[in-house]
Each structure stands twice: as C-alpha cells, then as structure tokens.
C-alpha cells in the first residue's frame, strides 16, 4: 500500500504551525517572567551603575529566547496535528484515521480507499494557517513590568538607604528648648498613666478591647459584635456605672436566650426575619415603651414584602393608620395579624414540609388551624412539634383501628411511646409500658426512613406513577428526612 505522502506533508505543515505558535506563546511568557528581575535590576541601577540597563535588557531578551526555544523544542504528536487538520479543514477525521490505519497490519480493504479519499481531499485544499494564536495570561500584564523598566531606566537612580538612623539632634536652640519642654510633660504625665499593680494584665487588655470596639466598627473576633443588633450597639460601655449598678451589657450577656442567634440564618424566611424584628421591638429593655418610629419601619418593611405577593397588606394598612392616630396597641395587633398571614402563606408555600408547628399554638383548635396554615386540615393535627408518626399516634390505616383507642379500651394492651427531640435524629428510644415494658427497644428512625425511601425510589421508577405526583412524594420523604 502506498504511503500517504500528501497526508504526511499536511501533518508536518500543521506541526510546524503548532511549533511556531508554541514559540510565540512561550516567548511571551518568558518575556513577562524575565522582565520581573529586570525591574529589580533597573531599580538598583544606582549601586550597579550603567551596566544595569544592559543586564535588564539581556534578562528580557534571554527570557524571550528561552521561552521560544522551549516552545519550538516541545514535541508535537502526529496524531494531534492530524486531528487539528481534520478539524480545521472539515475533513471529518479522515486524515487521522488514514494515518493511523495505513500502517496497521490488520487494516481492512476499505483503508486503501480511505487513504485515497483523504489524499484527494487534502490535495484539493489551499494551504493556510489553521493553528490559532493563544495569548498567555501573563501577556496581559506584560506592559506593567516593561513600562516599569522603561520609567526606571529614564528616571534618576532610586536613593538607597545608607544603613544609619536619621539624625534627630536639634539643630537650633528653639528646637532644643521644645524638645526639653516636651520631655518634661511626658515625665509629668507618666505617673498618671501608671498601671494599677493589683489589676491583672488580662483585665486591662479586655478593657482596652471593649473601648476600642465601641469607638470603631467591630472587627473579627471582637465580642462586641454580639451587641450589634441590640439597643446597646450605639452605647459606650460604662464600667464606672457598672461598679455601682451593673453594666447593661453584662446583664444582657447573662440572658443568653435574648441574645441574637448569630449562627442561624433568618434571611431564608421572610416570616422568621420579620418575626424576629417584631419580637426585638416588643421585648427590648423597656417592653412597654415601644418606639412608634421602629414600629412604623417594621410595618413599612412588611408592606414592601407584601407587595411581592403577600395578602397581609390590608392589616399593615390598618396598623399604619392606627400608628398615625397614636394607637400603638392597635398597630401592634394589626402587625400581629399580618405576621400570622405571612406565616400561613409561607407554610402553604412549603407544602408538605410544614409538618412542624402544631404545638406552637398550645394545641388549641383555633391555634392549630392558624399554625398549620391554610391548607392544614383537622386530620393533620396529630403531628406534634418534634414528634413524628410515632407508634400509637397519628392517623392509622390499620384495620384494627387506631392504636390509641385500643390502648384506652384494653388496659392489658401494650402502648409504645416515643421520646423525641427537635432536629435530625438517629432513632427513637421507645419506652414500653405494660407487658412489653421489661424489654427496651430502639426504633432506628433514619434506617427505617432510608429503607422506605429506597423502596419508594424503586417503586416510582419501576411502576408508572404520574409525573405530577413525583414532586409531592419527594417532598413528603424530604420532610420526613429533615425531621
């Protein structure tokens, strides 16, 4: 079989283009990195002398040449060049396939036809540069060191430090007098600033940190950040008054539950964000003295949120009117109504995930309805706060009837009560009462949920579940998993 000379020539031509582009690319990189020491050399032209310019120029030229040489000498695989040619000339992998198969011992009769076809197509091509130029990232910053070299070359030598301290001895009698007076004041002031020998140094440091924190913005690690969202943020700490009646900050720190929770992200929920602000408004240092200005700001914010699709703007409007009429209590009531609506809407939007909240409203009928949102029915109210579908609780599909009723009916039956806590949990410790009370057991909540989830995944992919239900099923298991 004839060797595909034409194809080889094409590949060699492309490889040469590749080498040339590589040389350009690496020469630019070399110029950049060599110009950095050149800047240093030019900056030191004072001590180095007139040779500095020549050395800098040699460095830059050397960098360019080294880069170009590196680019030229890098090996280019024929297969890469052939693929590049195929792509650039639209040859649909003919050249690469022909070159690869022409030398193979297991070539098929079609390979010869392929080589002929590829050769004919390549012969019809007009040679052109197909390898595009790739400018290295460093080239964008190249003007900076080059400009620095030029400026430093033209500028006078940079004065170098001589290694001695500056001379601070007074030159005139007046300066000498001023110096003497100043030193006297320092000597007089020094005893006033003497540290208390009884106070430990750590205490002094804390005091210093607190004062500097009050005067300027809080910095990382500054404990004063915890007061950021409280009324104390704008007050300076007064440790003199602390000795008499106690510092408000320390009092606040003792009430841990009233401090803002810096770890939780309230911005994820509009309701939580507004609720937190309203709570801060009514439970500050003086809960009965609510600032109408702050209340107005909060109502305005709720109105702004309501314009994005909320249904609480009428209540907010009532609150604003009441506030203008000086009826703060009425305004607070209207704000509470608006908050309830906001929560109900957010619960409704979350759909099946809003399983929590039944106990927030004291388990009273009306409170439940409000807490469960608009979509919550009476049947759903068995979900307690932090409780799941515990054995013996909730609506049961068992043909035997609800477990709880059976328990009431028969004193010898076994009741299972679960102990739960908030948040994600590994399992329920089940306290057995009655006959089974002798034997402790543990229900692996996550394990069971995991198994059911897997079964659900299998079932939903194997059997035909309407697509509309997929999201609901997923949400349901997601909600279970989050518990």
């Amino acid at each position: 079989m004839a060797h595909p000379e034409t194809l080889d020539r094409l590949v060699r031509r492309v490889a040469a283009q590749v080498r040339w582009r590589r040389a350009e690319h690496h020469a630019l990189r070399g110029a950049f990195w060599a110009s950095l020491p050149a800047v240093v050399v030019i900056a030191l032209k004072g001590p180095i002398g007139p040779r500095a310019i020549a050395i800098a120029a040699a460095l830059v030229v050397g960098g360019v040449l080294a880069g170009a040489l590196w680019g030229v000498l890098k090996r280019t695989a024929d297969a890469d060049a052939a693929r590049l040619a195929d792509r650039a000339f639209g040859l649909e992998d003919r050249v690469a396939t022909a070159l690869e198969w022409a030398e193979r011992p297991d070539r098929t009769p079609l390979v010869e036809a392929l080589v002929r076809d590829a050769t004919a197509r390549v012969s019809a091509l007009s040679p052109r540069t197909i390898v595009r130029r790739i400018v290295p990232r460093e080239a964008r910053f190249l003007p900076v060191p080059v400009l620095a070299v030029l400026v430093l070359a033209l500028a006078p030598p940079v004065p170098m430090p001589s290694g001695r301290l500056p001379d601070f001895t007074p030159g005139t009698e007046e300066e000498e007098k001023e110096a003497r007076t100043g030193s006297g004041e320092l000597e007089q002031r020094a005893p006033r600033e003497n540290r208390d020998p009884l106070r430990p140094p750590s205490f002094e440091e804390r005091e210093f940190a607190a004062r500097s924190g009050a005067a300027s913005a809080s910095t990382a690690g500054d404990l004063s950040a915890v007061f950021k969202d409280t009324s104390l943020s704008s007050q300076r700490p007064d440790f003199n008054s602390f000795l008499k009646k106690g510092d408000e900050r320390l009092k606040l720190l003792e009430q841990v539950d009233r401090l803002p929770d810096l770890a939780s992200d309230f911005t994820a929920s509009q309701y939580k964000m507004v609720f937190k602000k309203s709570k801060a408004l009514s439970s500050g240092m003086r809960p009965n003295d609510i600032s109408p200005k702050k209340l107005k700001e909060l109502l305005e914010e709720m109105e702004r949120l309501g314009r994005k699709g909320g249904n609480w703007n009428s209540d907010v409007g009532e609150g604003m009117e009441a506030l203008e009429g000086g009826q703060t209590d009425k305004a607070m009531e209207a704000m509470q109504k608006a908050l309830d609506k906001m929560r109900a809407q957010e619960e409704a939007q979350r759909g099946g995930k809003g399983l929590r909240g039944g106990r927030d409203n004291d388990r009273s009928g009306g409170g439940r309805e409000r807490g469960r949102g608009e979509g919550g029915g009476a049947e759903d109210q068995d979900f307690g706060d932090g409780e799941g579908l515990l054995p013996g609780k909730g609506k049961s599909n068992s043909p035997k009837g609800e477990a709880s009723r059976r328990l009431q009916a028969s004193p010898y039956d076994v009741g299972v009560e679960g102990e739960s806590r908030r948040g994600r949990k590994d399992g329920y410790d089940t306290n057995m009462t009655g006959r089974g009370g002798q034997m402790g057991s543990r229900l692996q909540y996550l394990g069971v949920i995991g198994q059911y989830r897997k079964m659900m995944e299998d079932a939903i992919t194997r059997e035909s579940v309407p697509r509309d239900y997929h999201e609901q099923i997923k949400d349901y298991f997601q909600a279970l998993d989050e518990r």
């Binding site: 590749v18 080498r19 582009r21 590589r22 690319h25 890098k74 280019t76 695989a77 297969a79 890469d80 060049a81 693929r83 590049l84 792509r87 649909e92 992998d93 003919r94 690469a96 396939t97 022909a98 690869e100 198969w101 070539r107 098929t108 009769p109 079609l110 390979v111 010869e112 036809a113 392929l114 002929r116 076809d117 390898v131 790739i134 659900m456 995944e457 939903i460 992919t461 194997r462 035909s464 697509r467 997929h470 999201e471 099923i473 997923k474």
Partner: protein
C-alpha cells in the same frame, strides 16, 4: 469489484431503500435513516411514539421494500411465548404413526414487527430475548436458528401505561437503537392527508434482497475507526455511569445505571453505517454524536431524583456528550500540552 464500487453500491442501495419507504412515510427522515442504520448494523430497533404516527406503517413499508419474509406479532397480555417462537404439535404421517413436529412461530421470519411490545407479559417478552441476541431459539430442548438476516422492529406507546409491562433493562439492552417518533409538522401532516386519502394507493417495490443485506453488513464491519474516535465512544459510555470517577455531575445526580458495553458497540456499529451511507470510509466523531441519543437513551436508567425532576434522557445524553467532548483531547489545544 473495487472498494470504491462496493461503497458506492451501498450508498445507492441505502438511498434507494430510504426513497421507497419515503414513498409511503411522510417526514421522519431521521427515523427512517436510523431504522436502516439498525438493520444494516445487524441490530434491532425499538420505536416509541404515541398512536397514529406511522410506526407500524413504517415497518410494514420497510418489509415490503425488502425481498424478505415478514411477520407481525400483535402483543397482548394473553400472548404466550409459544405464540411467538412456535411449539411441537402431534402430527400423523401417511402410515398412521404419530409424532411431534415443530410448528415454527412468527419469529421465524426475516423481519419481525413486535407491535406494542410492552402490552405482553414479561414472560412473553423474554421469549424474544434469545432470538434477538443469538439469532436462534430453543424449543423442546432443540436449538433452531432463525433466518438471516433477522431483524426485530418493536413499537411501544409511552403514554398509555395502564395495563402494560415496561420492558426490563435486559430486554431493552437487546435493542441496538431506540427511536422516538415525534409528531409531524403541519406541512408533513398535510402531505400525510393528501397521500393517504388519495384514490390510488402508493405501491412500494422490493429493492433489496436478504443476501445483499448480509453482504452490506460485512462491508460495514470493515469501516476503520480511529483510536481517538473509539476513545470518544468509550468516554461517552463511561460517562453515563455515576460510579465512574470522572463521571460528570449531571450523571452523578440523575443516573442510577449507565449504559452497558452493548451501548458502546451500538454507537460504533451505528456510526459505521452512518459513515458509509454518507459515502465516507471512516467513522468520525460527528457520527458518534448523531447516534448517541438513539443508542443510549434506553440504556441510561434514571434514579428517583431524575424521574422526579422529569429529566429528559435525550438532554442528559446530549449534556454528557458535550462534557466528554469538552474534556477529551480532541478539543484541547494540542500545542499547549
């Protein structure tokens, strides 16, 4: 005959066969092409589409264009395996002696249309498995070869899922390609109306023999594939596996099981046919990209999240192909390596 002439003969035969089918079938040019690709590659094709889009008509027309025997099996829930592969029956000879005689089922035809294949029970569906893979069936302990060429074209309806038995993965994997028949455009619909309500029905000529089909199948296997093209096919198939270390994020997130090695075989064989049908002597990367969705869409099994999110497997495969192309050496600038 020179190689050029052989290839030219194939191109002419391929175009001629397609033209015959297009006498009856309006539009669906890509579907027709892929059906022919499946036939010449020696595989079987699954056609999926809502009723009335001409799936069965396409297969019937194709069989009428070939000088091959044709059998149609309408799959129903009460269809039994023996109804497909045949059974031994007692016959009496001239001397009055009784003996068993094998009565071949409809599977013993060159072109078999398995219409609405997902309506039969898995047991009956699996009766096709051996025939599709081994080109032979075993009845009463005796293996009986099927006629060559043997080509199964199955149809299924994706929307009426009630009372159906979705094909298991093992059965799906037997199909070289799965084609989705889309609804026609308005111009095509007008042409369908004109053509099918005309007084004189269109007649189709038989343009290709079974021997020719077999000869072309041999020719197709001679088409060379460059190593980087083969690597590209392997990369696509591997990228459908969520367990693979370099699997793209979209695969890890939405795929439960990836394509089997049969997927890579289907890609390469289909690409060979496509290349030769275009008069090209080699497989290109573009051939693989064109065949990726038909060859892999039924081999990529979505997980729960993928099903719940309503992920379209075609889009998924397309993203995988794009990802593999971006990361393969083909798209990297070779002179910077």
């Amino acid at each position: 005959m020179t190689q050029d002439a052989r290839v030219q003969e194939f191109v002419t035969a391929f175009d001629g066969l397609r033209a015959e089918v297009e006498k009856v079938i309006v539009g669906h040019r890509e579907i027709i092409t892929h059906v022919l690709v499946g036939m010449f590659a020696g595989g079987h094709v699954l056609l999926e589409g809502v009723p009335g889009l001409g799936k069965t008509l396409l297969v019937k027309t194709l069989s009428e264009s070939l000088e091959l025997s044709f059998a149609r099996i309408q799959f129903t829930p009460d269809l039994m395996p023996a109804d497909i592969i045949g059974t031994n029956i007692i016959v009496e000879d001239s001397e009055g002696r009784k003996h068993f005689q094998f009565q071949p089922g409809p599977i013993f035809a060159h072109v078999v249309l398995a219409d609405e294949i997902n309506r039969a029970t898995p047991k009956t569906q699996s009766a096709l498995l051996e025939g599709m893979q081994e080109a032979s069936v075993t009845v009463g302990g005796a293996s009986r070869p099927l006629p060559a060429p043997f080509f199964v074209l199955a149809t299924q309806n994706p929307i009426e899922m009630e009372g159906t038995y979705p094909l298991p993965e093992a059965q799906l994997d037997r199909f070289l390609l799965k084609l989705r028949v889309r609804y026609p455009a308005i111009e095509e619909l007008n042409a369908i109306i004109d053509r099918t309500t005309h007084a004189h029905p269109v007649s189709v000529e038989r343009v290709m023999s079974g021997a020719k089909v077999m000869a072309f199948r041999e020719l197709i296997r001679e088409v060379p594939v460059a190593s980087h093209v083969r690597d590209f096919a392997s990369g696509i198939v591997m990228a459908t596996h969520p367990q693979w270390a370099d699997a793209p994020d979209v695969t890890r997130r939405f795929v439960r099981y990836g394509a089997s090695p049969r997927g890579a075989q289907a890609l390469i064989l289909g690409a060979k046919v496509r290349a030769l049908a275009e008069g090209r002597y080699n497989v290109s990367v573009d051939d693989l990209k064109a065949l990726a969705a038909p060859a892999l869409r039924h081999r990529v099994i979505l997980n729960f999240e993928g099903e719940a999110e309503g992920i379209d497997v075609d889009n998924l495969v397309s993203q995988i192909v794009d990802g593999v192309e971006a990361s393969s050496a083909r798209t990297k600038e070779p002179f910077l390596r």
